[in-house]
Symmetry: C2
């Protein structure tokens, strides 16, 4: 594996905290496969068994689903250093819920499940990262489901912030997610998210300071959650 | 740890495939704590940091949330041999999304996160079980979100079965979840789930044989998904 590839892998969140020497040690054997795919190639079909963890070394891929009416929907776009479907790899039903398509010419590294298990046993940081990745996905999805009961984006913002405020024990809440992730969490497009937050700022209910949100009017937040939009 | 407790832990899905000798080896040191709580005691508050994996040795607990309007909702009831919040333990934000209450007098074993990591490194089966548990939770929650877009229970049943049929490559589909889990997946009560399935049987669209469901009329299934309920 070249130094450039090792540095790409070092940027993958599963290898966070490992230096390039550590990564070299893990990858220094015949425990992985490299593969190339041309632009527009279908890399994996929805329903295919997923038994090798895929990490992107070069290029970009899309995860797509096909609706029963035949329409394609892009679920996610993944780039260099991203790992594909970390949760599916170890699930009892390890078939992919999405079709994976090459958006550009791509190069990937494939780590057989057995290798990932060996990495976990040989390197505690990698193990912790893998468990953290799964834990974070579970928390994110569970919160998304919890927020489904609210119809309006303002209710979702209010409820999410009130929960964070309780958890963090402060009215100056640190948002754990990027704006992009937040839009996904609330099931809305980015512009709707921005408009939602702007309303809160304009009415003096919230104040933003980077990723910190100050809750200025908590009783109004509660009213909004209860439906007083 | 007594033989009885070891046999209780052997029934926990995280220890599936380990014999009592293996479990004894893992637990044979000062790496865990045992605790007792009285009936109605609040064991952990929503928002508490969750840094010790809790496994129930005796009794029953509830995971509850409090809505902004003050109403309590029971999310889950856990019994002997169940592990609590396996996903939260390793998440970046490892605060509990629920309040944990003792329904009876209970006795639990607490495994510090560090011990769980050691278990993963010392025993490959335990590691695989932990990763599988997380993977299964992710798949379940993602499928639940996917099905949210359908309003009727019949559409949810149709869409879930069609997806399983694609994945399993057969029209005789094996349901991966118990009826209880399925009701949770579809966000409905058990009786509604049964009524939904009965309609499919009555109209000759599906036929049931234990946990195998035969899809007899696939084009009708597709029509139902498209809204022809």
């Amino acid at each position: 594996m070249t130094n450039r590839d090792i540095s790409t892998i070092a940027d993958c969140h599963l290898f966070k905290g490992l230096n390039e020497q550590d990564i070299n040690t893990l990858f220094d054997s015949n425990r992985f496969i490299e593969k190339n795919y041309h632009k527009n190639a279908i890399i994996r079909f929805q329903g295919d068994e997923y038994s090798d963890l895929m990490i992107i070394l070069e290029g970009e891929i899309s995860a797509e689903i096909q609706n029963p009416d035949g329409k394609k929907i892009i679920i996610e776009t993944l780039k260099k250093s991203n790992a594909v479907a970390t949760g599916v790899l170890f699930a009892s039903d390890n078939t992919l819920p999405v079709t994976v398509v090459a958006n550009t010419d791509i190069r990937v590294v494939l780590l057989p499940k057995k290798t990932v298990v060996q990495f976990c046993q040989e390197n505690e940081i990698f193990l912790m990262n893998y468990l953290q990745d799964s834990g974070n996905k579970i928390i994110f999805l569970a919160e998304k489901i919890r927020l489904f009961k609210f119809n309006s984006i303002n209710q979702k913002i209010a409820c999410h912030l009130l929960t964070l405020s309780k958890r963090q024990g402060t009215d100056s809440v640190r948002l754990p997610y990027s704006r992009e992730k937040l839009a996904d969490l609330f099931g809305v497009a980015r512009p709707s998210l921005s408009r939602g937050f702007s309303e809160f700022y304009d009415h003096g209910i919230l104040e933003s300071e980077g990723r910190i949100i100050h809750i200025l009017d908590k009783s109004r937040i509660k009213e909004i959650i209860m439906g007083g939009d």
